[in-house]
């Protein structure tokens, strides 16, 4: 049990997919304009990660090593399609806001990376917790980035105004703001890592 908890926790800090492994940045930057989009994307990606990790761990002995990547992609694409259809049915507004980035979870390096580097060598239960941890780590990173961008770019978080008479810096809501925030955050985490070592 303790072991499983460790698998879960490592995705959140020590091997955070966004800030430590620097994987899957396309959706991170594109949808982080508001916290609600970030959470939606995070949940969708977590679901895909969970599903693909479990299935890959289940079928790892059946698929031949040479064609494993196409097999993984089919599994991942199936879960992405399920996510996309569910989102279209129950939350069309979120689906519109996330746009093409929902189908693009297929090519999110985190999902394929975990299948290749972890799930195909581990037990089902371990893979499940690994997927969950990575998904939560990804979601937290998205919340952090989108929180900064929304707070400074529009002066609000989740629709609540933070400070009165604050002149928002619109640039943070735009693509260049996303790149700036992620660049500075990565630098900041590098400093923290340097201190610890």
């Amino acid at each position: 049990m303790k072991n499983l908890f460790k698998e879960f926790l490592k995705g959140i800090i020590r091997e955070n997919p966004t800030f430590v492994l620097v994987l899957g940045l396309c959706p991170t930057l594109a949808v982080s304009t508001s916290v609600i989009n970030g959470i939606g994307m995070g949940i969708a990606a977590t679901f895909v990660l969970l599903g693909s990790n479990v299935i890959v761990a289940l079928i790892k002995n059946i698929i031949p090593a040479r064609i494993r990547i196409p097999c993984f992609i089919v599994v991942i694409a199936t879960f992405v399609t399920i996510t996309e259809m569910t989102m279209k049915a129950y939350s069309p507004a979120l689906n519109r806001a996330l746009g093409i980035y929902v189908p693009l979870i297929v090519v999110n390096c985190i999902v394929l990376g975990r299948a290749e580097a972890y799930a195909q060598k581990q037990t089902v239960l371990n893979s499940l917790f690994d997927g969950l941890g990575m998904g939560v780590g990804f979601t937290l990173a998205l919340i952090l980035i989108s929180g900064i961008r929304e707070a400074l770019g529009s002066g609000k978080i989740l629709g609540y105004t933070l400070v009165q008479k604050f002149e928002p810096a619109f640039v943070l809501g735009m693509p260049s703001g996303a790149l700036l925030v992620i660049g500075l955050l990565l630098g900041f985490f590098n400093i923290l890592k340097g201190r610890r070592e």
Partner: protein, 202 residues
């Protein structure tokens, strides 16, 4: 089908909604390979070729397979599989026909399979040029042209970035922002300057 439409596609794919700097597709390869100009060039050419070809292939699949049989929800799976197969195929052909070219593209071709830009173009084409499950007039030409333009936009951003990063080697930058963080901050400034194209009016 008219010239103005093509011009709009060109301007918006290359400058306004640049695939890297505004849509953030293919960021991983952008940051990883833009350290020197030569590999950046090879990667851009490979991406341009694959986006164009995948636009053509996915258009045919969507128009003649998925729509008639009512399978449009299989779009993601079918597109990614076809793109992956196509890239593998191209790799094998190039290795057989032209070893120098294979050495030039080297490891970059297989990487393209998981490049978001390629699948992104395919999905964008379907979103933009098919309305209510029907192809708009000239949608095939628009799709192909958009594929080429997205590749061009990728190449433009890649070349600009690699030129800047080659010079950065000579600079004394703080240790904490070396490599990745600095690349993102530079990309941010580039993206800011690309926003200037927003003022274009037709």
């Amino acid at each position: 089908m008219n010239v103005a439409q093509f011009l709009t596609i060109f301007i918006s794919a290359v400058f306004l909604y640049n695939v890297i700097l505004s849509r953030f597709l293919g960021l991983c390869s952008f940051v990883a390979i833009s350290k020197e100009t030569k590999p950046a060039m090879a990667m851009s050419l490979a991406v341009m070729f694959v986006t164009t070809m995948s636009s053509i292939i996915t258009w045919f699949i969507y128009r003649f397979l998925l729509i008639p049989f009512g399978l449009t929800y299989l779009r993601t799976i079918s597109f990614i599989l076809v793109i992956a197969t196509f890239v593998q195929f191209v790799e094998m052909v190039i290795r057989k026909i032209s070893p120098p070219l294979y050495r030039f593209f080297g490891i970059y071709l297989p990487l393209i399979t998981v490049n978001c830009a390629v699948l992104g173009v395919a999905v964008l084409n379907v979103d933009m040029f098919f309305i209510n499950g029907r192809a708009i007039t000239g949608s095939f030409y628009y799709s192909v042209f958009q594929g080429i333009c997205v590749g061009l936009g990728y190449a433009l951003a890649m070349l600009l970035m690699s030129g800047i990063r080659e010079r950065l080697d000579l600079c004394n930058v703080p240790k904490s922002v070396k490599e990745f963080p600095l690349a993102f901050i530079i990309a941010s400034i580039m993206s800011l300057s690309f926003m200037g194209f927003n003022g274009f009016k037709f």
